[in-house]
Structures are given as structure tokens and as C-alpha cells.
């Protein structure tokens, strides 16, 4: 099945920190042959288009490396802001919390597996 990676974002992201995160994350995905990435944003009270784009980028990079991504813990205020601002979050899977996120990841991985090679799920 491979490893799952859990990323918790707790501080305000700015450019350099985001680049560092992307570097670290992609490196770890490869190093641990991870097939799932959980990004926990429950500590974020404010989300802007920069973060939105960053999350989308991470999801795309992860997919290139054969890992699925789920964003968990979005606060209601954040969800409302994203909707009000009309920020496109298509293609990013979300779940309420880490536990549900793991369930979502498992089915996402299964789905992805159907496209290509068959995977054995232990």
C-alpha cells in the first residue's frame, strides 16, 4: 500500500516557505514511496488565493509522483471565504478530519489504481 504522509500547515505561508514545503514534500514522497498525502489545514484561519494555488500545485505534483492528496480540516470561515472569493478548488479532494481523510485517500488510491496497474490492497 505504501506510506501516507501527513503535512500540518500551522503558520502563515509566504512564498519562500511554500517553496520549501513543496521541495520537502516531493522529496519525502519519493523517499518513502508514499501513495497518499494528507494536508491538514485545521490551524489555518485565513486562506487566500496564494494558499489555494499552493494546495492545487501540491496535489498536481503529488499525482505526478503517483500519490493522491486530500486536504483536511478546513474551517467553516475558510470554506466560506473560498466560496465567496470564487477561488477554484476543483480537483482537490477534501475531508473533514484526518480519519475521514485517510478513508478518502484509500478510495482515491484505489480509483487511481484502476487506471493503470492493479494494486493489491492489504
Amino acid at each position: 500500500m505504501g506510506e501516507f504522509l501527513l503535512v500540518t500547515i500551522q503558520v502563515d505561508m509566504h512564498d519562500r516557505l511554500a517553496m520549501t514545503l513543496q521541495d520537502d514534500l516531493t522529496a519525502q514522497i519519493v523517499k518513502y514511496r508514499a501513495h497518499g498525502v494528507l494536508i491538514d489545514i485545521s490551524a489555518l484561519e485565513i486562506v487566500d488565493s496564494f494558499i489555494g494555488r499552493m494546495l492545487a500545485s501540491i496535489a498536481s505534483m503529488a499525482r505526478l509522483l503517483d500519490a493522491e492528496t486530500v486536504v483536511v480540516g478546513m474551517q467553516p470561515a475558510v470554506a466560506i471565504t473560498l466560496v465567496e472569493l470564487g477561488l477554484p478548488m476543483q480537483g482537490i479532494r477534501t475531508a473533514l478530519d484526518v480519519e475521514k481523510g485517510m478513508t478518502a485517500l484509500r478510495s482515491a488510491i484505489l480509483e487511481a489504481g484502476r487506471d493503470g496497474y492493479s494494486r493489491s490492497i492489504g
Binding site: 474551517q75 467553516p76 466560506i80 466560496v83 473533514l96 478530519d97 475521514k100
Partner: protein, 293 residues
Amino acid sequence: MPSAKNRLSQTFDKREHEIVTQWLEQQQATGRKLNAAEREQTNRLSREFVRSLRAALERNGSGDISGSDWAPVRDLLADFSSQRAKDGYSPRETAGFIFSLKQPVFSALRAELGSDPSALADEIWLATLLLDELGLMTTEAYQKTREDVILRQQKELLELSTPVVRLWENILALPLIGTLDSARTQVVMQNLLEAIVQTRSDFAIIDITGVPVVDTLVAQHLLKTVAAARLMGADCLISGIRPQIAQTIIHLGVDLSAVTTKATLADAFDLALRRSGHKVVREASVASGLTVR
């Protein structure tokens, strides 16, 4: 020419103590019965008021109480009225605080200016204008506080009528009753989203059977709520769409294709149960008609 108003100020200067004493007696005679602590508090407030009034008169005896010279007096009265309104005093009792000051002031003026009837008449008139103005101000402040209480109660009523109900362990329902305006819809949205987080629900059913009118604004708010819930990881269904509402929505050109909608709450509940892997099974009853399991 010495300003006529200055005589009122001088009277207060010379006779502040007796004005206060008589006023306290007047209040006790005409007002409601107070216990010792309340009496002490009112006396203290009265003394402070007269002091403040005297200071304001010295600064500005023109009779215009709207400027900054009279701000301390106005603030004192506003606080006093507000508190009286909250404590359940009537408007008459509250304004009576000021009006009962008339007699002591007139007595003091008579003592000061008794020998000059024309000057006395002038001062009494000016004092009347001043105290009437203050009395009106007191009443307005009182009214404002009562209005604030009503507004607050209305707000609480709004929140009461949008409860989030738990239908099943991971299914919430939000039965909306009444008209939806912007403010209320935002409260509704917030409550629902927070409930989703707290109960870790996967499904939320917004039932609009009780909403008489759906216009573009309401529809947009509903769509935003659904989108936000989905972003958080929960699925939103809308139920209770009545025939007229269905027609209105299509005529308005609102696009609800991204949302699952059902005619009744029961249908939506059934769908949510199935989507979350639940099945409802009816067990056959044993005896005919007597026991139903």
C-alpha cells in the same frame, strides 16, 4: 450687560447644597420605594449630577446643551436612563428624575431673586427650558435602550429558528422556516458548517419546505452553502422544493445542476443513508394487526 443666564449659574454656585437636599427629598416623596442600598446609590448619582450640571452651566450658560461643554451631563443622563430602562423603570419614573429637580431649582431662584420679579420670571423660564431639554434627552436615551433590547431579542429569535438537527450519526438536517434574507442566511450557513465540523457529519440536508419565497439572492446563498460544505468534505442535499419554487428557480435561470435536490426531506434522508452505506430494512410483523415491530 451681564448675561441673564449667568444668574442661574450663580444660583447653583451659591445654593448647590440646598438644591441637592431638596431634590433628594422630592425624589423620595414622588418616586418608588427604594431599599437602603438603592437609596444611597440614587443619592450619590443625584449629587454627582448636580455637580456636573453646575460645572456645565459655568462653562456654557447659553441654554444650548448639544455642545462639548455639556457632554459630561449628557453622558451621565444617558447612562442613567439606559440603566433605568434595563432595570424596568417606567419612562415617567425615569424622566421624573429630572423633572423633580424643577421645584428645588425654582425655590433656590426665588430665594436669590425674590426681590426682582422680572428677573425671577426670566430665570425660571430659562431653567424650565433647560430642564425640559434634559428631561427629553433622558426619555430618548430610555427609548433607545428599550429598542436595543428589542433588536437583541429579534436577533436571538432569528438564531432560534434555524436549528441544525441530527438525523443520523453522520447526517444533519437544517429545516429552514420563514423568509431568508442575507443576514439570516449567513447565520444559517455559519451554524450549519460549524455543526458539520462538530458532529463530523458527511451529509447535510437543507430543507426549504418552510421557505415561502426563493429569489435569486436566496438561491445564491444556498448554492454558496452547498459549495462551502463540499469544500470542507461534506455533501449537501436540498429538499422540500415545492412545485412553485421549482418553477421560480427555473424561470430565474438559477443553475442547481451541481446540487442534488429532492422533493421531500424523507427522500433526501433515504438518499443520504444509501450513500453512506446504510440500508433500512422493514421486519415483517408477527401477528396480524396486534403487534407491530
